[in-house]
Each structure stands twice: as C-alpha cells, then as structure tokens.
C-alpha cells in the first residue's frame, strides 16, 4: 500500500517536472524541473522495486544511487552551460535571440 503511494507520488513528481520543463522559460527553473522529474523517477524505481513483505531489494537502490550521481553531474554541466548562455546572450533563457543570429525555421 505504501509502495503504491510512493509510486504515485513519484508519478506526480514526474508530471510536475514535465510541466515545469515545458512551461518555465528561465533555464534555472528548467534545470530544477529536470531534477524534480528525476527524483520522481527514482522514487518510482525504489517503491516499485521491493516485493511486499520480502527483504528490501538492493538492485533498485544501487540503481538510484548511480542515477543520483548521474543527475548531479548533469545538473552541474547544465548550470555551467546556463551561466555561459546567460553571459553570451544577456539573458538566462533559450529563445528571444535577436533575429540575425537565430536559426531559421527554429
């Protein structure tokens, strides 16, 4: 029962993350949204892993730890890129680029 609750909460986080990623323009918010999405996935992974009553299954835990490491490094890369984008374009967003440098049909 609790497993299902956590799994549903995880799904909710995923949906929230997706929403944030598509709606927010600020890159920091987008990166946060990706992290929320990631946390949701990890929550689903852990909560669905174990069988009720059995000993905790180590495999999902190992996966989530690895996943968190990956997410941290990805976030670090994302933050650096965000700063560079902000420095180069003057604003921490993806669009609103001046016309001449904009890729056509983008």
């Amino acid at each position: 029962m609790t497993a299902a609750f956590y799994a549903l909460a995880g799904v909710a986080l995923v949906v929230l993350g997706l929403y944030g990623l598509s709606v927010q323009a600020h890159l920091l918010r987008k990166l946060l949204a990706v992290n929320i999405l990631g946390s949701g996935v990890f929550l689903v992974l852990v909560s669905l892993g174990g069988q009720p009553g059995a000993a905790p299954d180590p495999v999902p835990h190992a996966m989530v730890i690895t996943g968190i490491v990956v997410a941290v490094s990805a976030t670090a890369l994302g933050l650096v890129l965000m700063l560079k984008v902000a420095a180069a374009s003057g604003r921490p967003t993806l669009d609103d680029a001046p016309k001449e440098d904009r890729c056509p049909k983008e």
């Binding site: 995923v14 990706v34 495999v59 999902p60 990956v70 890729c103 049909k105």
Partner: protein, 496 residues
C-alpha cells in the same frame, strides 16, 4: 587449421572490456596531460580498429560473447555482451571515429584541442560501453554518459548559437533518459530483472510491458530525434564544430536507436500486442522523412541543411518497425536494410559535415548562395560532399542505394505502398537538397572575398569517409551475411 590455436588465444582476451577501458583511460590521461592529449587521442581512436578485429574474430561463429566484469554477473554486476548486432554499431563507431579524429587533429586550435580530445575519448568510451551493455540499467548509465559528453562537445566552439544549441540539447537528452528510466522501473517491477536474457524469458504482454515500451520508446525517440522530437537536433548539430557535428549525426543519434532496436528485436516484438506501436513508429518515420527533407531543401546554410537531412534520414531507420513477417515477428530483411542504412548514413553524413566544415573554414561562412567557385578551388571537398550526398540520396552505386533497395524490396513484398512512396519521394527530395548545394559549388558568388587555406588532411578525411560510403555499394555481398546474423541472432535469442 594451423591458425586455430592463435585464434582461440585471441578469442580469450577480454576485447570488450579493453574497448571500453582504453578510451576512458585515454580520456583521463588526455585531460591530465593536455600536451600529450593529441597523440593519446589519435592512438586510442586508431586502436579501436585492431581491437574490434580481435573482438570480431572472437565473436565470429558464436551467438554472442558474454562477459561479467570482475566476475560479478547479473543482477548487481556489470555484464557485457558482444554479438553481431553490437559489432555493426561498434564498427561504425570505430570507422567514423577514426576519420573524425584525423580531421579534428587539423581542425582545432590548441586551446580547443585540449578539451576536444578528452571529451571525444569519453564519448567514444561511452558509445562502446553502450553497444556492449547487456542490461537495461547499464544502458541508461552509458546513455547519460554519452549525452553529457556530447553536450559538452557541442558547446565547445563557444558563441551564442552553440551554447543555446547545447543547452537545448542537454535538456532534451536528460528528459529522454529519465523517461527511458521510468520505463525501466516499470519493467523491473513487472519482471524483477534488467538482464536482456532473463527479461526475454519473463516478459509477458500486458499493461505494464505496454506502458514500459511506450515510455522507453518515447524517451529513446526523443534522443534519436525522431519527428516530432527532432526540435533540438538542427540547432545543436548545425552550431557545433564540424567534427563534433559529424560525431553527433553519425554516431550519437544511432546509439539511442541501437537500444530501441535491441528492445524491439529481443524483448517487445515477440509480444503480439506491440504491432500498434510499430505502426506508430513507422508513421513517425515517414513524417520525419518528408518533413526533414522538405526543411533541408529550404535551408539557406549548408550545415543546417545537413542537420535537417539527418532528421530525414533517421526517419528511414524507423520504417522497419511496422514491417512484420507472416509469423508476426520483425521482418528480418527490413531490419537488415535498416542496419545497412545505419552504417551507410554514418559514413556519408560524417563526410558531409566534415566537407561543410571545410567550406566554412574556406569561405568563413556556409551560406549556400554565396558559395564562391568552390568546385574549382576545393575539388576534394566538393567531391566528398557530392559523393556522400549521392549516398544519402540513395542513388547508385553507393551504400545508400543498397540500403534503400533492400528496404524498398522488403516493403514491397508486404505491399506497403505508403512506405515505398515515402522512401522514393524522400530520395528525390534528398537529391534535391544535395544538388542544390552542389549546383552552387560551381558558380561564383555575387561578392567575392578572401579565402582561407584548408589543410589537405581535412579535405582527404572527408573524401575518405565519402569513398567508404561509395565502396559499401560496390560489393555489398561481402558484408551482408554479417548484417543478416546481426538481425537474426537477437531475434533467435528472444524466441528461446
């Protein structure tokens, strides 16, 4: 047979682990000692070929090698697997990688080369690891490693277009991987395993496996830039430095496609309930061909045109999904054609991007209508672009033609006129956008300007890759049996 002894000794070596560890070690070494980065990078890129030959001899005649790293097998350890299917992708990576590395050596100034070599070797290690992984979670990790290296390479040139392109790419690739991982979580819940072999035995048709397939398929389609998830690809591929664009278009998008092929052939296709998913993927593939080609045709710049061409060519790879044999299993002939196209496209597309890089270096721009008598002044680059373009358009006598012929034949035998029509139309559009550029190679520009010298090696590597794409079309019979087993073996494993 006298060589029997030495062959079995070769087979005993852990080629697969070497193929992963050598680039990763090289990446660290190149990062630590920037002054030696160049020889390390070139050596490791070239080393892939002999190692692959060793692995190939070991795999030949078997139905795949399994290797538990450090003696830890599934579920907790890392298990590697090499079979004909992984070899197709590994060989593509080794060939294109070597060509691009030789090119990049002349392309980058020292300040950028310092970063290029470690990142490229990191990417190479991640790609090799991905093609050798035997369980779903390792695939996720390698997918992420590859994505991060690719994003960093994209941003290498600096400049706003490259940085925003890389940022968009990062967000797309993270989203794709996480959605894939969600699917993995569901599968694990349903079966209690992540190993391909065990999954094949335990997976059953049902809502859980269908949802998992949908999630994993969507995530991987996003990373493969299948229409309509292609939005991130043109800005990233067009603004990255030329050798990086070549790597991204030729190899990186193929890696997520490889996972999709594995999942489809080994796990999902035998479940009868997935036919609808196959049809959807086929439809998206057709849309990608038409939309990507059409967009390519209207691009004003060479690199953007080549990038949209990748969007279109990825569409062809998805045309095998809706084709099923009489028994409801994947159509082996169609898949063989698709794998052939993977190799042909990788060689030709890398050549095209490298040629585009030469044009950019030469004239300082890549606006198509302002190309200035390049056919007369850069004949090798022009030959590379044109030859590669001919293969992309699927015209004989090139590798692209063979792939398209095989795919057309498979589609026709099933009476799929929609696929046939789209393929033919796509070929025509591809010829259109290729020769739109080639036509302007000959004519002078309205405003003439100073040209920069292009190092001979940059011209020759582009031409070399294009010639490989051409050679692929001259004697396909030599390689086809290998592609046959690359398709048949995973499917046979799945049915056991």
């Amino acid at each position: 047979m006298p060589e029997g002894v030495s062959l079995s000794a070769l087979a005993a070596l852990p080629w697969d682990a070497v193929l992963i560890l050598l680039p990763l070690t090289g990446a660290v070494a190149a990062g630590l000692w920037p002054r030696s980065a160049r020889p390390i990078g070139l050596l490791v890129s070239a080393g892939g070929i002999p190692i692959l030959v060793g692995l190939g001899t070991a795999v030949a005649g078997t139905d795949g090698l399994h290797h538990a790293v450090g003696g830890w097998g599934a579920p907790l350890g890392i298990e590697l697997r090499a079979d004909a299917l992984s070899l197709v992708f590994l060989a593509t990576t080794a060939l294109v990688g070597l060509g691009v590395a030789l090119y990049a050596d002349s392309y980058f100034e020292p300040t950028l080369a310092r970063w290029f070599w470690p990142l490229w070797l990191f990417l190479l290690g991640a790609l090799n690891a991905l093609f050798l992984s035997a369980d779903l979670f390792n695939l996720y990790v390698t997918l992420e490693l590859m994505g991060l290296a690719a994003v960093a390479l994209t941003a290498l040139g600096g400049g706003r277009a490259a940085l925003t392109g890389a940022m968009r790419y990062l967000l797309a690739t993270l989203l794709g991987s996480l959605v894939y991982l969600l699917g993995v979580a569901l599968l694990y819940h349903a079966t209690g395993t992540l190993d391909f072999g065990l999954l094949g035995q335990r997976l059953e048709a049902g809502p859980a496996s269908r949802t998992a397939l949908g999630l994993m398929g969507a995530g991987l389609a996003l990373k493969t830039a299948l229409f309509p998830f292609h939005f991130w690809l043109p800005p990233a591929h067009a603004s990255a430095p030329a050798p990086v664009s070549a790597l991204l278009s030729a190899l990186v998008v193929k890696a997520s496609f490889y996972i999709l092929v594995r999942l489809w052939l080994e796990l999902f296709a035998p479940l009868a309930a997935t036919a609808a998913t196959g049809q959807v993927l086929g439809l998206l593939g057709m849309a990608a061909i038409l939309w990507g080609s059409w967009q390519a045709l209207r691009q004003p710049r060479v690199k953007l045109l080549v990038a949209y061409s990748t969007v279109a060519q990825i569409g062809y790879l998805f045309l095998a999904f809706p084709l099923l044999s009489a028994a409801g299993l994947p159509d082996a002939a169609a898949w063989r054609a698709v794998l052939w196209l993977v190799l042909a496209h990788a060689l030709a597309k890398a050549a095209m991007f490298l040629a585009a890089g030469n044009l950019l270096r030469f004239g300082g721009h890549d606006r198509i209508t302002d190309l200035d008598c390049v056919a007369q002044r850069l004949p090798l680059t022009v030959a590379a672009f044109a030859l590669a373009g001919v293969s992309i358009a699927g015209l004989p006598p090139t590798g692209g033609f063979i792939g398209k012929w095989l795919l057309l034949e498979a589609a026709l035998l099933q009476g799929r006129w929609d696929l046939v029509t789209v393929m033919l139309l796509g070929g025509l559009l591809a010829a259109g956008y290729v020769f739109k550029v080639v036509g302007h190679f000959f004519t002078p520009a309205a405003t003439r300007h100073e040209a920069q010298r292009v190092p001979a090696r940059m011209e020759w590597t582009a031409l070399g890759l294009a010639v490989l794409a051409l050679l692929l079309g001259l004697a396909p019979g030599i390689l086809l049996p290998w592609f046959d087993s690359a398709v048949v073996m995973p499917m046979a494993g799945a049915r056991q």
